[in-house]
Each structure stands twice: as structure tokens, then as C-alpha cells.
Amino acid sequence: MNPLVIYLLLLKASLTSFSGLGSLPMIRNDFVIERHVLTDRQVNMAVVAGRTGPGPFGLYLVVIGYQVDGIPGGIAEFLALITPAFLVLPMMHWLGKRADNPRIRGAIRGLLLGSAGLLAAASVPLSRDAITGKLSLAIMVASFALLSFTKLESAWLMVGAAAIGLAAKLF
């Protein structure tokens, strides 16, 4: 794929999300469903790689770009990841205290809730791909509970899950 196309697709995903994994439905739609350049398993692997290391949630986008087109794709995705952040500069200048405007807050609330619904829809096939037996189902449920109701850092969860998976193969 042309790196410029990758950049534009990722920029679209970044611009329409307000959280790290909020771009996931758009990514899956563009790269898995419409263009068939990635599989659900590869998207899952990108999220794993992005979350295992330190840094912001959205880093999985760089891994997606790398999977699609190697280093040029990774660079395109990196630029798409950081481009929206610079929108903050004119917004700092012009928006100022309007960030508390009820209509702007309402728009963001609607966007967040819409993103949640889309993320749920994208998570169904990814979960089907991830759950291959009772152990993986138990890990998924435990992961949901630990991240939703405790302050556990997600990187530790990845490490713990990997250790359980390794132990299951050993014993």
C-alpha cells in the first residue's frame, strides 16, 4: 500500500477518536474488512505489541502501519498518530475557556459513546479470534474484571497472561 494512503487512513482513524483504542473500529473497517491487507489476528498482535511496552495507548497504530508496509508504513502511521496532537496548538489559542461549553461537551460525550458502541462491535470478531478454549476465555474474563475494577497496569496483565499461557504449555 502507498504510505500516503496509509497515513490518510490512519489520520482519519485518529481524528475520529478520543482515546487510544477508540480508533480500532475504523482501523478494522479500513484494513481488515475493506482492503483485506490485515487479518483480525494481526490487529490483535498489533494491540499486544503496542500495550506490552511503555507509552501511550495509540502506539498500536505504528505497529499496524509496520505490518501493512514495513518501515515506510510504520513512519506513516507514526506521523498520523502525532498529527492530531498539534491541533491542540490553535485550539489553545482560540478555544480557551470554551472547552467547558455545554454543546462542545455534549458533542464529545456523543462521540465517546458512539466510539464505545463501535469498539464493542469491533471487539466481537477480535474476541472470537482470541478465544480458542476454556483457558483463553477465563483469561479474557479475568482481564476484563481486573482492568475494569482495579488499578492494575495493563502491561502487568500482559506479562501475567503470557506467564499463564507459558505455564499451561509446560504442564
Partner: protein, 164 residues
Amino acid sequence: MAVLGRELADRLGWITPEDYALAFAIARVTPGTNIIAFCAAVGWQVLRFTGALAAVLALTAPTAVLSVFILKLLESGSEHPFLMGAIAATVAAVSGMMWSIVWMLVGPHFKGINKSSRAVIIAGGSFVASWMFNITPVPILGIATLIGVLWQDPPPPKKDDAGA
């Protein structure tokens, strides 16, 4: 963001608490990853565009390279049965993480009938539109945003001065 605020405003004094609050608020309404926008905003407050660029690159560039190395590491061992077991378990954990993020986004909106109804209609409607009708994300998010603008919280009840 809280850690950065304590470091930059309280300890180093590079920005004021008001600067921090403004950067935090604007970063929340900036599309993309909020923490990156927050770092750009704080960098801009300290050293204008140079500061913003330095802050964003410092946050993202090393960790982006590390993520690709982690992917290569995972792929290189994907034929090994032990590593396959570890990867499969990690992928399952990521799946749970995705559902926890859905809950994190929706959960705080379940307060009272009005807010809960709005959350169910917007999030549930987006899910159904995408999952059952295969509508692409952009129009779904556009409609969700419009509903969010139009469906405001009711004003708080006025206090009766007479106490009646």
C-alpha cells in the same frame, strides 16, 4: 497527565496550575490520543512550537520503535509452541482489555434515567448500526455527535428561596 502536572507545575514551576488546567481541558477535546495532545500543549506553553515538537517526539518516538521490536520478537517466536501459548494467552488478555475500555467509556454515563437512556441509545445504536447493518464508522460517529449536542442534561432544579 497527573504525574506530569505535579512535576511541571508543582516541582519545577515551568507552568502555572492554570496553564496545566487549560492544557488538560483542551487535550480532552482534541481528537486522537489525549496524552500526546496534552504533552504538545504543555510543551507549547513552555517553549512554543519547539517545546511542543520535543514533548511529542520524546513521548512517542522511542516507545513506537520499541513496539515494533516487540512485534518482531513475537513474530520470530510464533512457531515455538511455548511462545505460541504465551502469545495466545496475551491476545485473550487484550480481548478482555478491549471490553474493559468499552465499559470505561460507557460506565460513567449510567447515572439516572436521562443519562442512562442517552448512553444506551447512542452506544447501543452505534453497536447495532455497525454490527448488524455494517454501516461505516464515520456516519455513525457523526450521528452520535449530533445526538450528544442535542440531548443535553436537564438543568438542575431551582432552589425555592421561600423554602416552600
